[in-house]
Structures are given as C-alpha cells and as structure tokens.
Amino acid sequence: MYLKAILLFPLIGILLLSLIRSYRISSFLNTLFSFLSFASSLLLLVKRESAGLFFVVDELNIVFILLTNFVGFTTALFSQHYIAHEIKTGHISAVSLRFYHGMYQSLLFGMNLALCSNNIGLMWVAIEIATLSTVLMVGIYRTAEALEASWKYFILGGVGIALALFGTFLFYISARPAIGEGLSAMAWTNLLSHASNLDTSLLNIAFVFILLGYGTKAGLFPLHAWLPDAHAEGPTPISAVLSGLLLNVALYAILRFKMLLAANPHALQAGPLLMSMGLASVLFAALMLYKRRDIKRLFAYSSIEHMGIIAFAFGIGGALANFAGLLHMSMHSLTKSAIFFAIGYISQIKRTQKIADLSGLTASHPVLGWGLVFGVLAIAGLPPMGVFMSEFLVLSSAFAKAPLLAALLACGLIIAFGALLLKLVQVAFGEPKGTSTVVPSLYLPMLSHFLLILIAGIYIPPHVVEWFKHTSLLLK
C-alpha cells in the first residue's frame, strides 16, 4: 500500500495543483505532496509487497526510490522561495505557475512509476511521462532560448522514445517463445528468471536500442545534445531534478536491461559498451567544460561527465564496481542538486548566469560562495566528501581490472577538475563584482545535502553498506 501511496500522492498532486491559482497554497501543497511521497517511500523501506505483474520493489530500486523522493522533496522546498522570486520579477506568469507545479508532480509520478514498475512497457510509459513533463517545464520561461532548448530536448527525446520502445518490443519478442505471450513476458521478474533461454541475438539488438533510447535520457556522449541547454534554460529547480534524478532513472532502466544480458551467458557483454560510452562521455564533457561561459551549462556538462563515470563503473561490473557505481550515483545526485540550489540563488542575486560577471562570492555572500566551493570540490571528488569514496572505489577497481582505460578515465577526471577549478576560482574568489539584490532564500536543502555527503564520505552505516552490497551482487 505504501507503493500505491508513492504513486498516488503525486497523482493527486497533479490534479490539485493544476487547479489552484494562489501561489502560496500551491507551492506549499507541492512541498507537502513531495514530502508525503518521501515519507511513504521511507515506510516502503520498512515494509514492501512481493513483486506483482506490474510493480516490484527490491533492493535495487528501493535505493533509487528513496533518493528520488528525498531530492524531490528538498527541491520542492528550494523551489518555494526560488519560484516566489521568479514570480516577483515576472519571469513566470500565474498560469504557467499552475502548469509548473502540476508538471513537477507529474515528473515525480513518472519517476516513481518508472522505478517501481515490474513491466518493461510500463517503465517505458513512465519514463516518457517524466520526459514530456520536463520538456514542458524547460520551456516555461518562453524565451527564445528556453523554447529552443525544450524543442531540442523534445525532438531528441522523442527519437529516444521511439528507439527505446523498439528495444522494448524486441525484448518482449525475444522473451515470448520462452515465457509465452501476454503481460508475463514483460515482467522483470519473469524475464530475469528465464534470462538464460531468451533469444540471444535478438537480445543484443534489443539492448543496442535500449542503450541508445535510454542513453539519450541519461545524456551519454553522442546522445547528450539536449542536456546542457535544457539545464541552462529551464528554471533551476528543474535543472536540479534533471541532473539529480531523471538521469539516474534513465541509467536505472539501462541497468535493468544490462542485468538481463548479464544473466544470459551467450548474449554480448554489455560491459565494454557501457565502459566505452562512459569513457567517451567523461573525456568529451571534460574538454567541453573549458569553453563554457554559462554557469548552469557548465554544471550540466559536469553531469554528463559523472553519468559517464557511473556508466563506466557499471561497465566494469563485479560487486565492488557496481557498489561504487551506486554510491557514485547517489552522491552525484545529492551533490549536483545542492550545487544547483546554490547556483539558483546566486543567479537570482546577481541577475546573471554568465561566469564572467560573477566574482568574489566567498567575500560578498559567504554561505553561497563557500557552499559553491564545497559543492564543486565535492563533485570533483575531493575528501572528506562522499564522491571521493565512490571515485576511489571506481578507479581502484578499474585500475585492477582495466588499467589502460582507468588511466584514461583518470586523465579525464583531472582535465575536468582543472576546468571546474578555473571557473570556481573565477566565481568564488577575487574581488566581488557587480550589484546584488536581496533574495528570499532557504539554505536548508543545500546544507542538508552537504551534510549527507559529508557524513557519507566519512562513515556509511553498516546496514546501508549491506544493502548496497546486496544490490551490487544482484547487479552482477
């Protein structure tokens, strides 16, 4: 029933919020609903149903569900104040505000559905819902750039939709002879149990399509094009959710299918594919970082880089690397969304997103400035923050398994670090520049994320570890 709850609350949210006009109530309700679904996801942790034909909750997706709802909640909290200021400055009209909140809930709904669905078709639908709602939110400012960004996102996303759907069909077709017709041939649990006698070569083709389809959502290298602009032009809460959650969900889908391939002895090894794509993404994003002039786009590229790292980690395979991948995933979504919280306020205070116009923030706005420094150092994988641990695990397992690729990855990381640092020094240090407005801001979400990653960097509770290990074994 908690499962139902995490799907139900957002649904109600969609209906309710798209009706309410008043900003105060709606934004409060938005936060409330996200909190409720977060709470029920916590309860889900305690007591979960057995897998049905449509829904399943296991060690793997519970991690994601928790993470998604937590970040969804904190982002809603952040967006309260953020959106308040946007309305004051007239960036968002009242109509599109209703739209905004409704879409926010539908995004959460879509992601929750995608995460807990036990049916590849259903998962596909859910991810589409999530994508389309973000497409609409990206365009919400109605500036030429915003429209362009969301147009780009929509077209590429649509192609992704099509490819993923084709892949899904192929999976079903390959499963049908073994399992039989109907829904049962689309349920994860059945697919996994019969994985060994699925049609191998069909599986391979199917995985290619899935990889490209959902990889578009995850923003892996040749398919990344929509990601930077969507991050840069949409409202910052959406950038936070995109980087923090939607990319994860897409990767989660890929993981699920990878599990099937791994379970089938004759199918092609998904590992090398993922590794090479991940490596390409890391190197590409690292090099792209240098020429960025818009701070949100900068961090969008850094998200591409980290998706690459995670894909690489899962590509390596093995308990340790998968553990590392999961850890990195959660650390990245916490850190990156926190960074976007900071940037949101900064760009409102300074009325610009141009890196060149930002300077000396640690002097002028200590909390935001040092918060940004902390976040960037964390995302760059420096101790004592959590990303350091996950990168340590990724690299050390990679060094042991594929030294050359790992060395390349390390080079990519250093190059990216250099770029981020250059921009960080420019933004955070030096003499303060430009005028600044007073903005109603709530630091709680940012600080809570930072606290979490700090703790995670130093101490991970043993049962969390157990659970992660269990998952990583499940991933193979």
């Binding site: 147009w151 780009k152 077209i155 590429l156 192609v159 490819l163 070569s201 391979n204 083709i205 290619v208 399509f209 990889l211 490209l212 578009t216 040749p222 398919l223 094009a225 929509w226 930077p228 092609l268 590409f284 090099l287 792209m288 970082l289 240098y290 020429k291 640690t362 150092l377 420096l382 101790p383 350091f388 641990m389 340590f392 695990l393 690299l395 050390s396 397992s397 060094f399 042991a400 030294p403 790992a406 060395a407 390390a410 250093i414 190059i415 670090f417 250099g418 640092l421 250059l422 020094v425 240090f429 030096g430 003499e431 130093i458 101490y459 991970i460 043993p462 570890v465 992660f468 290990k469």
Partner: protein
C-alpha cells in the same frame, strides 16, 4: 602504553578538528590549541622512538565500508610524526604572534587546523583509503591556505597549478596502491604487498609511486607548482608546506616502495639517483636566479628534497646488492637530512615572514641593512643560512657528511653503472652544496647586510617576541643537532632498523652521548670536539689580539678603493651577484637572454639591462599539454552549437554503426 598514546592522538585529532567552528577570528586560541596538539604529537613520537616498542595499531568502523579505517604507529611513522609535529609546534607558536600581522584570519584558521591534523593522519593511516583520504585532504587544506590571499592574480594561478599537480599525484598513488591491493584483495597495509609480484608490475607501481610522491615532494620535473604555491601562503604555512609537507611525501614514498613492495628492481635506484641529482643542482640554480626570498627558499626545498632522495636511492641500491650496513648508513643520512631540512627551512621561512611583516617586501632588491633594525631575526637567519649551506659545525653539514660517507661506500657495488653513477652524484652533491652556500651569501648579504635599499627596510623594526622565540628555538636545534648528532642518530635507530634491516651506528645505552663522534669505517667527524677546539682557538686569538694590538678604532665613510658612492643603489644587487653563475650555467639551463640598452650619447639616459630567463621544463613539458587541451577544447566546442538536425545525424550514425557492429562483427 603507546596504544593509549595512539588512541589519544586520534581522539584529540577529532576533538581538535571539531574546533574549526570556533576558529572565527580568535587566532590566538587556535594557535595555542595547535601548539598543544602538536606538542602532544611530539610527545607521542618521542616516547615511541625512545621506548623502541613494536608497532601499535587500532581500527575504526569508519571510512571505506567493510575495510574500516586502520591506524598504526610504528618507527617510521613516529619519526615523521616527530618532523611534522616539531615543525607545526614551532610554526603554531610563531603564528600566535604572526597572526596579528595577517588579515582575513577566517580564511586561514580552519584550514590550518585541518592541514596539521591531516598531515598527522597521513602518517598514521594504515590502509589505502584513509592514507589517500588524508593525503588529499592535506593537499586540499593547503590549497585553501594558499588561496587565503585570493585577491592576487598569481595566487589563483599558483593554487590552480598546485591542486592540479596534487590530484595528479593522488591519482598516481591511487593507481599504485590499487595495483598492490589487487592480488591481496585488501586495502589494509598489513595484508597488502605480501604476495610476490612480477618485475614489470612492480616497476610500474614504483614509477607511479615516484610520480605521486615526487610530485608532492617537488622532484624535478614535477616541481613546477612548488615555487609558485609555497610562497603564496602565509609564511608560517609556507614553512609547514616547504619544511614538513614535502617530508610527508618522502614518507609516502618510503612506505610504499620499501614496505609495501616485496622486492626492488636494480634500475629503480639508478632512476632515483639521476632524478635526485638533477633536482639538487637544478633546484639550487633556480634558487640563485630568484630575488623573491620566499620563492628562493621554495626552490631550495627542491634541492634539499633531491638530497634526501639521493640518500634513499643509495640506500635502495645498497639494499638490492645486499650491503645492508651501507644501506642503513645511507638511509640514516637521508632521514637525518629530512629532519635537518625541516628545521632550518622552517627557520628560514619564519625569518622571511618576519621580514615580510616588518617591511612588507619579498623582493631582496628592495631590502638591505636589516641586521641593524632586526638583530634577532638577523642572527637566527644567519644560523639558518649556515646550516642550509651544509657548513660545519651546524646540523646541515652532519647529514651531508654522512651522505658523502655512504657515497664513499659505493666502490663495493658490483654493478659498473653504479660504480660510475654514484661518484658523479657525489660531485653533483658537492656542487649543489657550494652553490647553496653562494646563494645564501646572496640572500643574507643583500637582505640583511649593506645599506637599506628602500624606505621600508630603513624604518623596519624587530618583529614580535613570539616569532623571535620560535626562531631562536629552531636555531638552537640547528646548533644542538650539529654538535650532538648522536641525539638524532639514536632516535633514528629503530626507524633505520625497520627499513634497512640493520642499524649502522651501534645502539647502546651509553651511545646516547659517548662517543660523540660519528665513525664510518675509520673516518670520523666529531662535532663536539670541533666546537670545543674552535672555542679554544677563538679564545686564544681574542686574548692575544687584545694583548698585542691597538684597540682604538673610529667610524669612517666607506673607502671603496677611493671612489665611494653615496647612493645605496650603487651597491651590488642580488641580480649582479648571481651574474657570473648565471653566465656559466644560464645558457643551457635557462636559455638566458641578456640585453643592455644604452641611450644615445647625445641624449644621456640611464642604461638598462634586461635579463630573460626561461623555465625550459615548463615550456617544453607542461605548456604543450596545456596548449593541447586548450586547442582540443576549442576544436570540439562547435558540438555545443549544432542544429537539432545535426544532433539527429549524430544519433542516427551511432545507431547505424552499432547495428553494423552487430551485423558484421558478432
């Protein structure tokens, strides 16, 4: 009992780190706290070294899951703990006074605490994760300290290069450690490296360790960040970075190569010796060309680290060829020099800090005559200069003497390459010592002696008493360790036995003071008697001169061969002092370009001399990489500006190529 000490060290560390929040602007409190902290660390390390117990280790369920955080104190760790805490003790003490001269305390204090703590923890860490964790934390906090004066452009650049090189080194170490850990499925140092590995893998690990530790220690050609970053920090921090943090790097190298690797290959020691020899000479030559005191000192760090690594390389060579005694001797020399360098480099940096806070000048060409205004700083700085120039009877000479003696052991080496390499390294060592001496003649002569070259140095006044006290303490140590080297040798005993399996200088209860002389084969050096004799001779001279000479004297204007010049600008400058050496070594090392611009005779103006030095290592090793990255990122940047259709083409091509792979490869 040491177990409690270790626990105490860890818990006090945590307790101490937790003071970051209090570190607002109350710098005296923080620095006193640091004094207590490092004092305690000093006690721990001393008690461990003297009681000569076996190692103690504890572990917490922190850090890497399922491995946990392991901490261990053994002889090696505790000796370096001694170096670290000695340095931080004095620097914190100095900070109590120096803090009042610096602005924006809140940008230094929290990181200062973390910096000290993390250096200690690196030494105590006993598993790969916590080692790298604190290693990187150390780099990070020192980066933040460098960035504390963030308004300056060059600070930003220095910090940038520094942290990049640091993370490069960390990645290298991570690579090395995970390669060691891979066969023995454990990140804990006790289990690591017990399984034997083949030569190629071991060599790869060695190279990575050299890259990682060398980039932090500042071995050439990995030194580029050091002379930029060290001077940028506040002086007591520069002292720590230069005098102490580099030693932590040395520790890491010894720990990995001598302990975690089961066996050493022959060519490693050759590589180390070559790199170290080059570092010594090139480092000191760079220093000679510098006129910024702190940067010059930083370059000297490169030289001294080179000397330490010469010792390590020799020790490794002897160890490989089974000459354990000689190996022990070389290692003793290396570690002794590491300690010495930490002492006198701290002293000199603190002195430069005093100068900077008195004149806010770092450029020697603007100083001069400070010996009259700042007598205490001048005196202690003199001691430091003599010590770092490896001149008797101070401590610098003792370690270089030991090193020379271990070089003299090399003819017993069977390999011909070594037979010829080691003596030439000895020649390099001698050259660097002599050049260091001339460099410090320059520093001291231009900065403290002569006539003031600027207003600030005319009106400069002695710095606060805390700083003076700190400097005197270090100067005292320089003298004591020069006269009673046995004190250090005694402390080094267990360490050297741990690394080189034996100990060159026999340890016994009475060897603490007697015999005072160091005896290698039949060559002896006895600092104590030397000083005694010097005293007696000096006494005799003073008496007899007083007796047979006229004691009347008067002050006169300088004679200067008949044509004295009133203006202080006509004194010898640092630049002109270094000119002969620049002329000899410059062309092939710095590609120096000297140009004298004279004015036309009918319109007399001051003639100008322009000297251009090129840091060739930077230009040929680092610049190309930077350029390449820049160019590539420029080249691929168009991928941001494509039309949707072109992105679709990208997707389309990816899909088709993947399908093609499926069709034709599988």
């Amino acid at each position: 009992m040491n177990e409690y000490l270790l626990k105490g060290l860890l818990f006090i560390f945590i307790f101490y780190i937790s003071f970051v929040v209090l570190a607002k602007n109350n710098f005296r409190f923080i620095y006193w706290l640091s004094v207590c902290y490092s004092g305690f660390g000093l006690l721990c390390s001393l008690s461990f070294l003297l009681s000569g117990q076996s190692s103690q280790s504890i572990s917490f369920p922190l850090g890497l899951p399922t491995t946990g955080a392991h901490f261990k104190i053994d002889a090696l760790a505790s000796f370096f703990l001694l170096i670290v805490n000695l340095g931080s003790f004095v620097s914190s003490f100095y900070g109590i006074g120096y803090g009042s001269h610096t602005s924006e305390q809140s940008r230094t204090l929290p990181f200062y605490i973390i910096f000290l703590g993390s250096m200690n923890m690196v030494l105590l860490a006993a598993d790969a994760f916590s080692f790298l964790f604190f290693w990187e934390l150390m780099s990070l906090s020192s980066w933040a300290l460098v960035m504390s004066s963030h308004q300056h452009k060059e600070t930003a650049e220095a910090g940038f290069i520094y942290i990049l090189m640091a993370s490069l080194g960390t990645f290298a170490l991570l690579f090395a450690l995970s390669l060691i850990a891979a066969p023995s499925k454990s990140y804990c140092f006790d289990q690591m490296g017990k399984v034997s590995m083949d030569g190629k893998l071991a060599s790869l690990i060695f190279l990575l360790a050299l890259l990682g530790a060398g980039s932090k220690a500042g071995l050439i050609p990995l030194h580029v960040w050091l002379p930029k970053a060290h001077p940028a920090a506040p002086s007591h921090v520069s002292a720590l970075m230069s005098g102490v943090m580099t030693k932590v790097a040395v520790y890491g190298f010894i720990r990995i190569v001598f302990e975690l690797l089961p066996s050493q290959e022959k060519w490693w020691s050759i590589l180390i010796l070559i790199i170290a020899g080059i570092s010594t000479v090139v480092g000191v030559l760079y220093a000679l060309m510098q006129h910024d005191i702190k940067r010059l000192l930083a370059y000297h760090t490169i030289e001294n680290i080179g000397i330490v690594f010469i010792g390590i390389g020799l020790s490794m060579a002897f160890k490989i060829y089974g000459m354990t005694a000689a190996s022990a001797l070389a290692m003793t020399a290396a570690l002794f020099h590491a300690l010495n360098h930490s002492i006198f480099k701290n002293l000199l940096f603190l002195g430069s800090g005093a100068i900077q806070s008195a004149t806010d000048q770092r450029d020697m060409e603007k100083l001069g005559g400070l010996i009259l205004n700042m007598p205490h700083t001048a005196f202690t700085f003199l001691i430091g200069s003599v010590a770092i120039s490896a001149l008797p009877p101070l401590n610098g000479f003792v370690s270089e003497w030991l090193l020379m003696q271990s070089i003299l052991q090399s003819p017993q080496l069977p390999s011909w390459g070594m037979k010829f390499l080691v003596p030439s390294v000895g020649a390099f060592l001698a050259l660097s010592a002599a050049l260091a001496a001339s460099c410090f003649i320059k520093v001291y002569g231009i900065t403290f002696l002569g006539r003031p070259r600027s207003m600030q140095s005319t009106v400069a006044s002695e710095t606060d008493r805390w700083s003076v006290l700190a400097m005197y303490a270090l100067a005292f140590l320089c003298i004591i360790f020069g006269i009673f080297p046995r004190l250090v040798i005694h402390l080094l005993g267990p360490v050297v036995r741990a690394i080189a399996a034996t100990h060159y200088f026999p340890l016994s209860a009475k060897s603490f003071f007697m015999p005072l002389s160091l005896v290698v084969d039949q060559n002896a050096y006895n600092g104590f008697v030397l000083v005694l004799l010097l005293g007696i001779f000096l006494f005799f001279i003073l008496i007899s001169v007083k007796w047979l000479s006229s004691n009347q004297f008067r002050r006169t204007p300088i004679w200067d061969c008949g044509y004295p010049e009133k203006s202080p600008d006509c004194q010898y400058t640092a630049n002109s002092f270094a000119q002969p050496i620049r002329k000899v070594f410059g062309p092939f090392l710095f590609a120096t370009k000297e140009k004298v611009v004279c004015s036309e005779p009918w319109y007399p103006k001051a003639a100008k001399m322009i000297v251009k030095l090129h840091d060739q290592i930077w230009e040929y090793l680092y610049k190309p990489v930077a350029m390449a990255i820049d160019r590539i990122s420029e080249k691929i940047n168009f991928l941001q500006f494509l039309t949707v259709r072109r992105y679709l083409v990208l997707v389309f091509l990816t899909l088709v190529s993947l399908l093609g792979c499926l069709a034709f490869l599988l």
